[in-house]
Amino acid sequence: MKYNIGIDIGSTCAKTVVLDGDKNILHRLLQPTGWSSVETAEAIHDKLTELGVDWNDAAVVATGYGRISVPYADKCVTEITCHGKGACHIFGSEDITVIDIGGQDTKLICVEDGMVKDFIMNDKCSAGTGRFLEIMANTLSVKLDELCELASHGGGVSISSMCTVFAESEVISLIGRGEQKQNIAFGVVDSIVKKVATQAGRLHLAGTKVCLTGGLCDFEYVCRQLSAALKSQVLTHPDGRYAGAIGAALSAASIKK
């Protein structure tokens, strides 16, 4: 049996998916990337060996910002292409708009006939990314899921700074002013949703399915707010955070050895 392996080393988490020859998912691995992508890649290799992967009959495609740190990869493919491919597979559609809110960047990808047609990434800035939410959750001394839960009961606050560092001081002054935590949480999620919606506006979302992948797709509240801002039902899937790894594994399937 051929093992098609996709390894997506993101800035926060490393995601690995093993597909069999019929594109069925055999294994999913999720671990923090840590400070060394190379060590993470080695740890993934060990784990896959434990799981019984036959390296003589395996093709590996690496993606994500740490893609060049996987020495045993047969090929590197950018996360844009992999997320596009992976999302098509997960959501069963060849025409789809993918919103991937990752640790250090947010991507919007337009896919037509299964091929990436256009994409936008945020620039040199962590506003509107997973990191932004993490930092804000930290400032509010809550976990990410608690932040979303709180936000769903809040309202009335808006964070105006587009920069994470300034936004953090804005949040601190809101705390100092005695603003309710749930309202601040609302403002935090609302700012990320608005930022993504603005980017989406530049990509001309036209009547295609919209899906959310990456670490935030498990948070139902984020998804609901995004749907409202985009005036379009944003789809999620339990495998959403593996979209990049699945896309990489699908690319691995076309490698001839």
Binding site: T78, E79, I80, D118, D123
Partner: protein, 384 residues
Amino acid sequence: MSEIKLPQDFVSYPEARKQAFMKLKALKESGRRVVGTFCTYTPQELVDAADATPVSLCAIGEDNIPPAEKVLPKNLCPLIKASFGGAVTDRCPFFYFSDMVLAETTCDGKKKMYEYLGKIKHTHVMQLPPGQFGEGALAFWKSEVEALRKDLEQFYGITISDEKIAEAIKLRNRERKAILNYYKVGALKPSPLSGYELNTIITSNEYAFDIEKKIEFLEKRTAELTEKYHKEYEGKPSRPRVLISGCPTHGVIDKVIKRIEELGADVVGFENCCGPREKADLVDETKDPITAIAEKYLRINCSVMSPNPGRLETLGNMIDEYKADGVIEVVLMACHTFAAETSTVKDFVTKEKGIPFLSITTDYSTTDQGQIDTRLGAFIELMS
């Protein structure tokens, strides 16, 4: 003549910079006048007619930016900051050895920076009209060309005759044709030369001192490359072909142009001021030279002009001529006029020309290389 000195900390300069200094020093010692210039709007023919050599002061290099930020705001285009930083620190040999600076009111950032340069050295700023088509635009610009002639005459204590300008026009037109023909090698499919070479040779000041030599060099290189194409490239498969558009790219040549080629595509042409933007359009040799110069330079399709329909027309022609598979627009951070045109250009390229388009905003730092690589890589994957 007073002795021509080098900057005080010259010994600490890197080798390439030292060589540029020595070359310029030798040029000055030969008695040649040197005028520092910035944009393609500079009527080079007038500088030539003053028996001066125009040298480009548009600078690159991240190390030139911190000294500039002592005076200029952080949120300003890196080209403006690097040019100013190189000038005030004596690191830029071209500024250092320039007798005077010749600039134009192109963008807001540049014209305000020129006010500071003017405190260091005689700086003649030509006033550009904000658009090419407004009533009186050409007449106004022509009066600015005349004013430049007077200032050059006064500054150097010379007289610039019409005949001398007409002679310079003929020589520069020949140079334009040589440059254009060299660029057109990139239109061959598959391209026998790298975009890295294209960008480097044209923006290199090295050949600029002697125009006849430059023409000779370019004609030779064009012939070599054309021969190489017929021998080694013709009929072979081509990698995806990329046309560059937008801001000048000489400051991001390693982080963008070279990377595109390393990641698997060919950069075949430049629709920016490092490319044939200004070269494709000759100065009319039959008209009164000042009128002909004014007309020619006002036709340049820079985003500082509003409106700027010529850019789309040129881009469309170049996409066809250079057989481009995609367009990558490079916008330097805080270049408002190019950034504002992005949306129009994207619509034109994707809808009217039907090929993919990517816009990248960046500066001279290397901190965003990872993000740039991902964007370029993904764009090349979608063209492949």
